[in-house]
């Protein structure tokens, strides 16, 4: 009976290694189909999620070590829900709103009743090496929050890039992006991350 069990286990492991199992089934039980964060690629993914009833304009501010750079996501509706920005590493600091002052009203919320309010994110800028590292994904989630005058608050989560280093069964989107940038560099001479 032990041998039968061993034979069965060997066959199942072979099936796993050979890609015989349904990727959806593997994803549910083992993960590893697609990366959720850049992992070993030289990026930081900053994703914003709108789980409110308002339409949001969200400025993402970040520093690359020398310059402070903005990227604004406009008109993110509750149905549109989420969008991410892939930033070249290094990113020394990142924030929604202002890098220096988290209490500065900077996120525009168009409420369902037609009123527009500008709200502060109330979250300090995150710092490289302290709050995140190369290859991580930062998720800013906008939610209903009764403690805030505009009833909208921000929570922050992180996906650790060291858990997303593959290999991946289906596709590594971030590796494809890096390869395309390297190809572009070969054509233009522009620096890639």
């Amino acid at each position: 009976m032990m041998r039968a069990a061993a034979a069965f286990l060997t066959l199942m492991l072979s099936a796993l290694a050979g890609g015989c199992l349904n990727p959806d089934f593997v994803s549910t039980n083992l993960g590893g189909l697609y990366p959720s964060a850049p992992g070993d690629e030289p990026f930081l993914l900053v994703r914003v999620v709108n789980d409110t009833t308002a339409t949001l304009d969200i400025p993402i501010s970040f520093e690359d070590g020398t310059n402070s750079l903005p990227f604004t996501i406009t008109d993110l509706t509750p149905a549109g829900r989420e969008v991410g920005v892939l930033l070249d590493w290094p990113v020394t600091r990142v924030a929604v709103g202002d890098l220096e002052n988290p209490f500065l009203p900077s996120v525009v919320a168009s409420l369902p009743n037609g009123i527009n309010v500008v709200i502060p994110p109330n979250q300090y800028a995150l710092r490289a090496g302290v709050d995140y590292n190369r290859g991580d994904a930062i998720v800013y989630r906008f939610v209903a929050d009764a403690r805030n005058p505009a009833a909208i608050g921000v929570t922050i989560a992180k996906i650790d890039g060291s858990t997303q280093q593959g290999p991946f069964t289906r596709a590594d989107t971030f590796r494809t992006v890096r390869q395309l940038l390297q190809l572009s560099e070969a054509i233009t001479g522009a620096a890639t991350p």
């Binding site: 041998r3 994803s27 959720s36 509706t77 549109g80 989420e82 494809t176």
Partner: protein, 157 residues
């Protein structure tokens, strides 16, 4: 004697394994591609919910460009993105795979007298057709004013 015992163990275990795999095929455990290879139903498509689609805008011109695009989600939600890119630079946005269509609405560059629209008709990229979960939409602008060109490609996994 020893060989007889081996055969006695092998046959039931092989039958049990075959039975379990046959059962697994019916509840989605086996890869549909594998089933297709052995002649079973290949209709099941694999679109993961945990993957991403990246949209990479590469500016290979000496002037600032802007690309306006619309992403339609599978729930009907729409995300409009206006992506400005500095000369010889790039920007990348990422969406989860709950995307139905990616459409380039307009591409323009900064000309001497203001914004100049690049005349181009780009077919929408439909997920499952010419774009897959895990893929990258590559948008490249090349040349120098007044000859600026737009190229759009959906690169699948």
């Amino acid at each position: 004697m020893r060989r007889q015992r081996r055969v006695r163990w092998f046959l039931p275990s092989a039958a049990m394994t075959a039975g379990l795999l046959w059962g697994a095929a019916g509840c989605g455990v086996l890869n549909p591609n594998l089933l297709g290879a052995v002649g079973a139903n290949t209709a099941a498509s694999v679109v993961g919910t945990e993957g991403n689609i990246a949209i990479l805008v590469m500016n290979q011109t000496p002037v600032t460009i802007q690309v306006n695009l619309q992403i339609t989600k599978t729930n009907g939600g729409v995300v409009n993105l206006n992506i400005p890119v500095q000369p010889n630079d790039h920007e990348a946005v990422v969406q989860s795979c709950e995307v139905d269509v990616v459409q380039i609405l307009q591409a323009s560059y900064a000309g001497a007298a203001g914004s100049v629209v690049v005349p181009a008709t780009v077919s929408p990229l439909q997920v499952g057709l010419n774009l897959q979960c895990g893929g990258v939409v590559s948008i490249t602008m090349t040349g120098a004013p007044p000859n600026v060109f737009l190229a759009v490609q959906g690169l699948g996994p």
